[in-house]
């Protein structure tokens, strides 16, 4: 691969950030409609992550028993990657209160899984759809996997050392106003998606 393909110039960062902004705004709007709350959005973070950096971030999830994570693969239009939703466990009780369909005060394990899945369905789905529409492509999504419950996260990245060096990461942190709910959405694109993403960005920039 041409080394130029693995660099990320300012213009591209701005462009990806803008795309992410639109997509995540959409996702937040859907979540707000379901939960009837106001969602606070920060500016998405766009970064090229080294494999080792991602590994460190993932091991942090592994060591910290206070978080749960869902990951879901996507592919289409020459792009592929995984979406990772990292959920602070202290958020469960608060989001369970918000979810009016469930008259439960304390979140138990199976309810936590339901909340995790429902939230990831909305946030990951809407974000990916928002990105796909702007780039004029269509993503197929694999079934989500809950990390940490049956899977040892450090094992997940350990075996992948050789396959890629860098990943384009878009990080979005969602917070719900007046509630102790905090989750992090990471969209990770593969190395070989970068070329296509840049082409699409060129088209949007011109």
């Amino acid at each position: 691969m041409d080394t130029n393909d693995l660099k990320l110039e300012e213009d591209y960062i701005d462009c990806f950030q803008e795309i992410a902004n639109v997509a995540m705004g959409r996702a937040a709007d859907l979540l707000a409609r379901i939960l009837e709350v106001f969602i606070i959005l920060p500016i998405p973070n766009v970064n090229l992550l080294e494999a080792s950096e991602l590994k460190m971030a993932l091991s942090a999830i592994d060591e910290n028993e206070q978080v749960s994570a869902v990951c879901q693969g996507f592919i289409g239009g020459g792009l592929s990657g995984e979406a990772l939703l990292i959920f602070n466990d202290t958020s469960f009780t608060d989001i369970a209160k918000l979810n009016k369909n469930k008259a439960i005060k304390e979140a138990d394990e199976s309810l936590e899984l339901e909340i995790l899945m429902d939230t990831s369905n909305i946030l990951i789905g809407a974000c990916l759809k928002g990105i796909a529409e702007q780039l004029d492509i269509n993503f197929s999504q694999g079934h989500p996997t809950v990390l940490g419950r049956h899977v040892n996260i450090s094992d997940l990245v350990k075996n992948n050392d050789q396959r890629w060096k860098k990943t384009l990461a878009i990080e979005i942190n969602y917070t719900i106003e007046n509630h102790n709910v905090n989750c992090d959405l990471l969209l990770l694109f593969t190395e070989d998606s970068l070329k296509m993403l840049k082409e699409k960005a060129n088209y949007l920039l011109s």
Partner: protein, 317 residues
């Protein structure tokens, strides 16, 4: 190739694909489903048509599925459910009814909106994936890991904790004792003249003696007490919430029980005894090793004193 032929090919694929395809309307009435659904449910698409899905499958958790599906209608978003949430939505038989280990088909599902030309969502589609193999493998893996964990902790001959794991527990009990100030006692015990038993009756007899000793320890101790095999013919016990005085009562009972219960080996009665050393937890100990040494000293005293007896470590010496 004309469009009609291609259309028929597509229809054939849909009919034959090994994934369940269902179309539901706003009222959860089945509009159509494919061959997978026909074969696994035993209900043809014609018969299912216009029937409410909850009527066809009373086992479905109605509230749960509606909750998922409504968000698809409302948000025009895909929704996924995985077998860890619910093992299945439709109770279908395992695809391998003879050699499969699960009684039913584990399922993942995808629900996605079908938009009309006007962009409205009046219908949704359900995809049903068979993930029985994944679920069964994971259950098997979990059982294997639990077994491995147990094996790595226990001594194969006696089933008591092995030395490594027992010492780990001792370390954490030592730390806890420093914090909580609850009394806590340690017992080291050793089978008297074990070498003689081995030499006289053979190693298998020796093994029987060790096994019998561990069985009696397990029967005598309380559930919360932590017993391990320390080495060859040496055993160790942590007695929770127990002073040295009470530990001595326990130790004597154990000693007498073993004295009275010979091991029968090849129809020969092997009488044997044990010696014990007791050390209560003390703040003078800087580590759990000091504590172990203390109980070892007391054990040595019992041996010196003529065996088949107990000794308590004196903290003032």
């Amino acid at each position: 190739m004309d469009d009609i032929t291609e259309f028929h090919w597509l229809m054939d694929m849909i009919q034959n694909i090994d994934v369940g395809l269902i179309i539901l309307d706003r009222e959860y009435r089945v509009q159509t489903w494919n061959g997978f659904m026909e074969n696994h449910s035993g209900i043809s698409a014609d018969r299912a048509k216009s029937k409410e899905i909850f009527e066809l499958f009373p086992e479905i958790d109605k509230k749960w599925l509606i909750n998922k599906a409504e968000s698809v209608f409302l948000l025009k978003n895909q929704a996924f459910t995985i077998w860890e949430q619910r093992p299945y939505v439709f109770r279908f038989k395992n695809y391998r009814p003879i050699t499969g280990t699960a009684n039913f088909m584990y399922q993942n599902t995808t629900i996605f909106p079908l938009e009309s030309a006007q962009g409205e969502v009046q219908y949704i589609s359900l995809l049903i994936y068979d993930v029985t193999d994944v679920a069964s493998n994971r259950a098997a893996l979990k059982a294997a890991n639990a077994n491995l964990k147990k094996l790595s902790r226990s001594d194969t001959l006696t089933g008591l904790y092995n030395r490594g794991y027992w010492e780990k527990l001792l370390r954490s009990e030592f730390r806890r004792a420093k914090r909580t100030r609850h009394p806590l006692s340690l017992i080291m015990l050793d089978i008297d003249y074990f070498k003689k038993i081995n030499d006289t009756y053979g190693h298998q007899a020796g093994d029987d003696v060790i096994r019998s000793t561990s069985t009696i320890i397990t029967q005598c101790k309380r559930e919360t007490d932590i017993a391990g095999r320390y080495g060859g013919e040496e055993f160790c016990l942590i007695l929770i919430d127990t002073t040295a005085k009470n530990a001595a009562l326990f130790a004597n009972r154990l000693r007498q029980t073993i004295e009275k219960k010979p091991v029968i080996y090849m129809s020969k009665k092997i009488h044997y005894t044990i010696s014990l050393g007791i050390a209560e937890f003390n703040y003078k100990f800087s580590s759990h090793e000091d504590w172990l040494k203390a109980s070892d000293k007391a054990l040595y005293q019992s041996k010196e004193g003529g065996r088949n007896q107990i000794s308590i470590y004196n903290h003032d010496t």
